[in-house]
Subunit: 446 residues, 2 copies
């Protein structure tokens, strides 16, 4: 019988290949030799030597190289591994630079870049930026946006975990839309019509009956035909839902706490990116809240402008409201509560003392709505009646109604758009700037 | 001018509403009164009093109630808030029980349960379990599966974070399939044909050029027509991809490390669920690896069974291989490497010393493939040629090729199916048992 040889994978080696990547580590190695890898982000020819900027996983590091033969071979975006001495250099951004002793080319580009990615600013249109996304994301500042986005989610998750929320994963191919039938993508599912989920609404409510508090981070699909600076057809939704609330104020309290914890984490762990992008973080002490009808009146009164009578805000009203509230209270966030029932979905609870107004809210941050939330109907009869009043067929929502029929606690929750929050935090006009590979009515690539 | 009143949301109240939920907390309150909320999971009538089992977010707690009037009103699945005294009781599972002093009904079910959810075991078919998912997930053991699944992801994420991976979110509506054209869902995207992503493959590779190491957790869509115990049409994929590898062994090392760290976290933080479900965690010291061709021969030789000559395993071969390897080495995991190129996608690197064999691997755990990974092609010419050899149109993959053309480090990665891993860990025969709301060729609800 042949003697079969097993190779052994121990799982303990994974750090060895990583070597030095953090600047904090580098500073410990001054006057010593380190092994680094990365991509040559930029070459600046000087007299008798060149500066090479090495792009590593998180930082760009200035290197000095005087090997002429080597320099002749090197191009920008070549991937290298180098041995280098760490030298203190006050003029370098990081306080140290690397003197290259030995450099190995791991892979070289096959063509010149079609777009300049290594300038201080990316001087190109958003369209071009997006067309060449696999390349333009290599820009130091461009990628810092998404490093911060990682930090935002880490902040959210760690806060929610600490507050007893269980992470769930609900299906994105669904049998019914939660947010109304217009903006929904249809799909052929083995001969049946199915849809792409507009939100995890039904599922997170069901899961409140199971875990009491749940959250989900996942794609949200909206077949909106508007091509605006605030809409994406696919975005990353952060949804949470909590049971045993006393009112929808509990949900707003939870969100304020989550945002606060997240801003603190960003300040502590992402100062490099915050500084690189010149981000001014908002402060949250308390977030002011006012009713939709009052907010409407406030904007009209203070600006003297007339807006359409409607059950929703126009984007311009949200912007003006934000300005007024900031002037009045210093807060860049404002909750607007009690939206009219006409504009809210069928699962939202109406104010028993004032039917027609819902126990719901939006959070507006620097002029843009980033969150919609509220209390949901938990009573079976109430939910059934609401469906019927709206002319919807209860049969179609049988598995949703199942949870109401068999006991649900009072509950509420919210959905937050990750790209919108990131964009407002970083001061971008267009939400696409905060999305790695945006999808809109005209864009399906890359 | 009217004086507008802002309400203040401070974000510091969110813990107050939570009160006592953890057993560890309860034990500190022995002989004192606590406020608890939850759902009445089970009522057991005794002489002169009843046992109520209160289902809270994570634990079920035995309560004693002797208020006859109240007991007449209470049904199972009623949501309540109670004041109760914590009493030491050695015979109770948790070492304490609650003596109800005051109980408020927050909401009551409107109908009797169509399926028994509060027995020790859910004695019902998988079909029924899934049909009534919003209810059957309330079963103590059923929900523990998904609490453990949360723990698995927490373990993965925390390991990847510590090892320098950046979390990304790539689009699920895509312009081309990464894994071949058959098992792909088609979509009408504003008049254009689009697809649901079969994997984040292209995007995670692109992002290696940006962050060096990236990971994503998100839905994976496969329009497979098989109705088997191992397939889902939508599942949660855990994908990571890492640059500057020396060989695909680096990827396997990383996975072994990730699994090890995760099993440790489960042991430390999820012992309650592990015990409840009677889970035996596997041990990882080293994971044995062997080549596909050798693995095929090994199974044939040891079992004397003849399998189809093919470029892949049959499920039965995977199962037998697992048994043999466990007998030989004690490991419940086994890496199979060097799969034939015919069965692997166009982005997989072939062994330069042995073309036809790929630098790829599967991880088999307790008889089921849970991961596919390997080294990818990073060289532009090589990738271009591979597409052409396969008769694929490079034009269609322009934004994928963009990254190769402009410099990519040697890199590799893997994709792991969360539900498959969970199912094998918990010893389930059917992967649907480890998915909250499974989608298969026949099932689109709930």
């Amino acid at each position: 019988m042949k003697n079969y040889q097993y190779t052994s994978i121990s799982g303990t080696e994974q750090n060895n290949a990583y070597e030095v990547t953090h600047v904090s580590q580098l500073k410990e190695y001054v006057d010593r030799t380190v092994i680094m890898h990365g991509s040559i982000y930029k070459i600046r020819k000087m007299k008798g030597f060149s500066f090479l900027i090495l792009r590593t996983a998180r930082f760009c590091i200035q290197c000095v190289c005087d090997d002429k033969e080597l320099l002749n071979e090197l191009q920008e975006e070549t991937c290298v591994r180098m041995e280098a001495e760490v030298v203190r250099e006050e003029r370098a951004k990081l306080g140290v630079e690397l003197h290259v002793k030995h450099l190995t080319i791991l892979s070289a580009p096959a063509a010149l870049m079609p777009v300049v990615i290594n300038g201080k600013l990316m001087e190109t249109s958003l369209e071009t930026k997006l067309d060449f996304r696999p390349l333009t994301l290599r820009n130091e500042k461009e990628r810092a946006i998404f490093k911060l986005q990682e930090g935002i989610l880490r902040g959210f998750r760690s806060f929610l975990q600490e507050n007893g929320f269980t992470e769930i994963h609900s299906p994105k191919i669904v049998y019914a839309g939660a947010e109304g039938g217009v903006n929904i993508f249809k799909l052929d599912y083995f001969g049946r019509e199915a849809y792409l989920a507009q939100s995890p609404q039904f599922y997170k409510q069901m899961m409140v009956g199971v875990f009491e508090r749940v959250y989900e981070v996942g794609p949200i699909f909206r077949a909106e035909k508007h091509d605006t600076a605030r809409h994406l057809n696919e975005y990353t939704g952060v949804d949470f839902e909590m049971g045993y609330i006393e009112s929808f104020h509990d949900v707003m309290e939870m969100e304020a706490g989550m945002l606060n914890a997240t801003l603190t984490m960003l300040e502590q762990e992402y100062s490099f990116e915050l500084e690189l992008l010149g981000v001014r973080l908002p402060r949250i002490e308390t977030i002011p809240a006012l009713k939709f009808s009052e907010a409407k009146a406030l904007v009209a009164e203070r600006t003297g402008r007339v807006f359409r009578e409607s059950h929703d805000f126009e984007p311009e009203e949200e912007r003006l409201l934000s300005e007024i509230v900031e002037r009045d209270t210093g807060s860049e966030f404002v909750f607007v509560t009690h939206y009219p029932a006409q504009k809210r979905p069928f699962y939202v609870m109406e104010d028993p003392e004032n039917p027609g107004e819902t126990l719901s809210f939006d959070l507006i941050f620097r002029g843009l709505e980033i969150t919609t939330g509220g209390q949901r109907i938990h009573d079976y009869e109430m939910q059934l009646q609401k469906l019927q009043t709206r002319g919807m067929d209860p049969e179609a929502f049988e598995s949703f109604l199942m949870m109401h029929r068999h006991g649900m606690p009072p509950h509420g929750g919210l959905g937050l758009g990750l790209e919108r929050f990131t964009a407002r935090l970083l001061g971008f006009e267009n939400v696409r700037q905060a999305c790695l590979f945006p999808r809109d009515i005209n864009r399906l690539t890359p």
